[in-house]
């Protein structure tokens, strides 16, 4: 089938359309978090100067000001365009900790008195982008190494397998904890690096066995007989057959960042980052967070997974022979 036809088939898939809709909705929240909920205005004319999205540009003028203080200190001629909700993800609000939903705080506050809704929306960006990064990196790395192992066999195969085994020996949670201990200030990037380093092995093994299986098929033998190199078979001819499995792997890789971060903060390993993310919110279970705080990120993660899975399903249907 031609590429164009495949694309049309993919785009016409009903499940894929639903999945894409869900994912774009979540991506919208991720991209426009500062427009929806933030303790800084979208646009403000403040003491003669104009600022656009000071929350993103980290304007020092507003560093220590709460939303109500900024609103109060606006002089004559100043004006501000505020987001839908005037509360930030990091700011400790004046509302007592663990209080229920109110008009100011849609989902109430957490154990530190921070707004749960703001953290959910801002966490979307962190969790989604890190998840995507892990998925892309681990699938790329895993595919290349797995394909090399599957086609070249012998020493290469042994090497990749052993490497995967070494990597696979330590649980991801422990590996991240050790790397976090190295850093002076915990960055969320270490999470990406280590989870990718662990995840590629999973993809590589999957690709390896599927390449091995495909190479035993008649069409692969036919291709070999006509002089196609094994690497070309692995990357060009076998890849459509791998799409289904790889897409599913990638979906779970996206979630693994959130889940690993949760385990990490629950086990008290490494210094948690103060950045708002779904994993960090879920980790608050150890501070006594109840379903009110836990359910929103769980639902968000579930929606993301569902949407991605529908897209993966559409990809599988498209490449079905």
């Amino acid at each position: 089938m031609k590429r164009r036809e495949l694309l049309i088939k993919l785009l016409k898939n009903r499940r894929g359309q639903v999945g894409a809709l869900v994912i774009s909705l979540i991506a919208f929240f991720a991209i426009f978090s500062e427009w929806i909920v933030s303790d800084l205005p979208i646009y403000v004319r403040y003491q003669g100067s104009a600022y656009v999205l000071p929350a993103i540009t980290h304007t020092p003028v507003f560093a220590d000001l709460r939303a109500d203080q900024i609103a109060a200190s606006l002089g004559p001629g100043d004006f501000a365009v505020w987001p839908l909700f005037r509360v930030g993800p990091q700011a400790v609000t004046l509302t007592p900790p663990l209080s229920g939903p109110s008009s100011d705080h849609l989902l109430g506050t957490d154990a530190f008195g921070r707004d749960v809704f703001a953290r959910l929306i801002h966490g979307t960006r962190t969790s989604l982008s890190l998840g995507a990064l892990v998925a892309i990196l681990s699938v790329l790395g895993g595919y290349v190494l797995g394909a090399i192992a599957g086609t070249h066999g012998g020493m290469w195969d042994g090497f990749v397998e052993r490497l995967a085994e070494i990597v696979g020996v330590f649980p991801a949670v422990l590996a991240v904890a050790l790397v976090r201990a190295l850093e002076r200030r915990p960055s969320i990037l270490s999470l990406v690096v280590v989870i990718t380093a662990v995840k590629w092995a999973e993809v590589a093994r999957l690709v390896r066995v599927l390449v091995l299986r495909s190479l035993a098929e008649d069409w692969a033998l036919a291709a070999r007989a006509t002089g196609v190199s094994p690497m070309r078979i692995a990357f060009v001819h076998v890849s459509p057959h791998l799409m289904a499995s790889i897409a599913v792997s990638a979906v779970f890789a996206v979630a693994s960042v959130v889940l690993t971060e949760t385990s990490l903060s629950f086990l008290d390993l490494g210094v948690p980052s103060t950045f708002a993310s779904w994993g960090e919110m879920l980790g608050e279970v150890r501070w006594g967070a109840g379903p009110r705080i836990l359910l929103p990120p769980i639902a968000a993660l579930g929606l993301t997974l569902g949407g991605l899975y529908l897209i993966a399903d559409a990809i599988r249907k498209t490449f079905e022979v």
Binding site: A172, A181, V209, A244, F266, V285, E320
Partner: protein
């Protein structure tokens, strides 16, 4: 088959070396607790040096270009004469072969100073006289000593001395050994090693007392020459005595560079062994997996802690995979119906609930037992195999042989189980062996939530206190488990799908 299994088992060795190298490299860059400014501030500078040394922080990580030995330390002491004369006393007899012959080359003032500084050594050796303490006569004393006794300072002599003392303790034999001072330490340690771990089958001493006696004599000699107060008490039992010997072995591991000289081949070897990595591996292997904090051998701790964790982990994996197979078979039977979509959404939602949250919420309600822990962990592990089987089922659905089976009128459930499932076996088994560490991480979480005391509690503590010995012990056990399961997985795949046996077992290219 057997050859394959054996080869894979042999591969464990390089895998373990890789694991230890990787975990060591990582841990060596973690700021050590001994370097914590808050700790350092409370100690004197020599205590800090000692603490750093006991954690091997004074050594390079992987390669030591200039391994320091007693010769180097004598050079140091002579270069800084007057600043730290105690260093010469600490080096003691081991330094004499490299110090006394050089006395004449020093200028008279330095010569006298060194000779007087050695007085405590002479006292320790039991040869001190009024001469040794007199600045005017001390040099002559030591020169005469070296002319008379220099010939005794050979390792063969030290070895004989240590052997003789261990066989039968008389005061003259003890005096002979003590006269060599720290020069005898290396051979004392060798003798201690041989005595504390007797060769199996060799005729050994029968009673515990007979075993303790030689150990006690040797340890006493070592304690005397090093002025360390760690002896085997008179009423000590055999385990007490062995624990004391182990403490001495650990001390020797840290301090041997003060007493041993490297020449030729041994210097080259020292470049590799006098490094953080080698010392630490030595500590782990030689001392039976070392003693992590709390002085309980790692093996014993692993044996105590592993069963609950392994039970939870393996039962959860088995439960998750059987459930995944059942669910996907059910799903595939009715793939046109809504039930498949429902199963799928439910499983995705379950996956989105982190194990930690589910476990804590259940534990808060007061439920807590092992069965529940297994179920909670299985829920987290379920979705990944389920997704894979579904994808594979869907892929084979349109294959000719499945259509053929349908055309023959076989029941859908038989097709799913006998034909489709067999095709999914290979990726599934591969996935299961990779998921083992994930399951272990999950087991840690579940254990903490339900208050089960297993590997998790210990591991979290080890990460927080940089207890390398425990982490390596854990890595060893997991590496062993992963390798053995992956061998079993390969064998299982070969049994299920004979076409693949060559590829799976021998990793060869010619599959057809």
């Amino acid at each position: 088959m057997l050859r394959h299994a054996l080869r894979r088992l042999l591969w464990i060795v390089p895998i373990l070396i890789g694991v230890t190298l990787a975990s060591f490299a990582l841990l060596s860059y973690v700021p050590d607790p001994a370097d914590d400014p808050a700790v350092v501030a409370t100690l004197r500078s020599d205590e800090v040096t000692e603490l750093r040394r006991s954690r091997f922080l004074d050594l390079p990580r992987f390669f030591n270009e200039h391994p320091s030995d007693v010769v180097g330390r004598v050079d140091d002491a002579l270069a800084h004469l007057g600043a730290d004369d105690q260093a010469l006393v600490r080096l003691g007899g081991a330094a004499l072969p490299y110090l006394l012959p050089r006395l004449d080359a020093l200028d008279p003032a330095a010569r006298a100073r060194v000779a007087v500084a050695l007085l405590p050594v002479a006292e320790r050796m039991g040869i001190a006289s009024a001469q040794a303490g007199d600045p005017a006569l001390a040099v002559a004393f030591w020169n005469r000593f070296w002319a008379d006794r220099g010939i005794d300072f050979r390792s063969a002599n030290a070895r004989r001395g240590a052997r003789r003392l261990s066989v039968h303790g008389t005061s003259s034999r003890e005096a002979d050994l003590i006269e060599l001072d720290t020069f005898a330490l290396e051979q004392i340690m060798v003798a201690l090693d041989e005595l504390s771990a007797p060769v199996v089958g060799a005729p050994g001493p029968a009673s515990a007392d007979e075993r303790i006696e030689p150990l006690r004599r040797l340890v006493a000699a070592a304690a005397h020459v090093t002025e360390r107060d760690d002896k085997i008490a008179d009423d000590a039992t055999l385990p007490d005595a062995l624990a004391c010997v182990r403490r001495w072995r650990e001390w020797w591991l840290v301090h041997q560079t003060d007493y041993v000289a490297y020449g030729g081949g041994s210097r080259f070897l020292a470049m590799l062994t006098n490094t953080q990595y080698a010392r630490w591996a030595d500590k782990v292997v030689l001392l039976g997996f070392g003693t992590s904090e709390g002085a309980v051998p790692i093996w014993q701790k692993l044996r105590d802690r592993a069963p609950p964790t392994l039970t939870i982990m393996l039962s959860a994996l088995v439960l998750a995979y059987s459930l995944a197979i059942v669910l996907s078979v059910v799903g595939s039977l009715r793939s046109r119906l809504a039930i498949d979509a429902w199963i799928l959404s439910a499983s995705l939602l379950l996956y989105s609930i982190p194990t930690a949250c589910l476990a804590v919420l259940l534990a808060r309600r007061g439920h807590s037992d092992t069965v529940l822990a297994v179920v909670v962990l299985a829920v987290g592990l379920l979705v990944s195999p389920f997704g894979q089987i579904r994808a594979l089922f869907a892929e084979v659905e349109s294959r000719d042989y499945i259509r053929h089976a349908h055309a023959l009128g076989m029941s859908p459930i038989r097709i799913a189980v006998r034909h489709a499932l067999r095709n999914a076996a290979l990726p599934l088994v591969a996935l299961a062996s990779v998921e083992l560490p994930t399951a272990l991480g999950g087991a840690f979480v579940v254990e903490k939530a339900f208050g089960i005391s297993g590997l998790g509690e210990e591991t979290v503590r080890a990460v927080q206190t940089h207890d390398v010995a425990w982490l390596v012990g854990l890595a060893f056990v997991t590496a062993l488990t992963v390798t053995i399961t992956s061998i079993l997985a390969d064998l299982a795949v070969a049994a299920i799908d004979p076409r693949l046996s060559n590829a799976a077992l021998y990793h060869r290219r010619n599959i057809a």
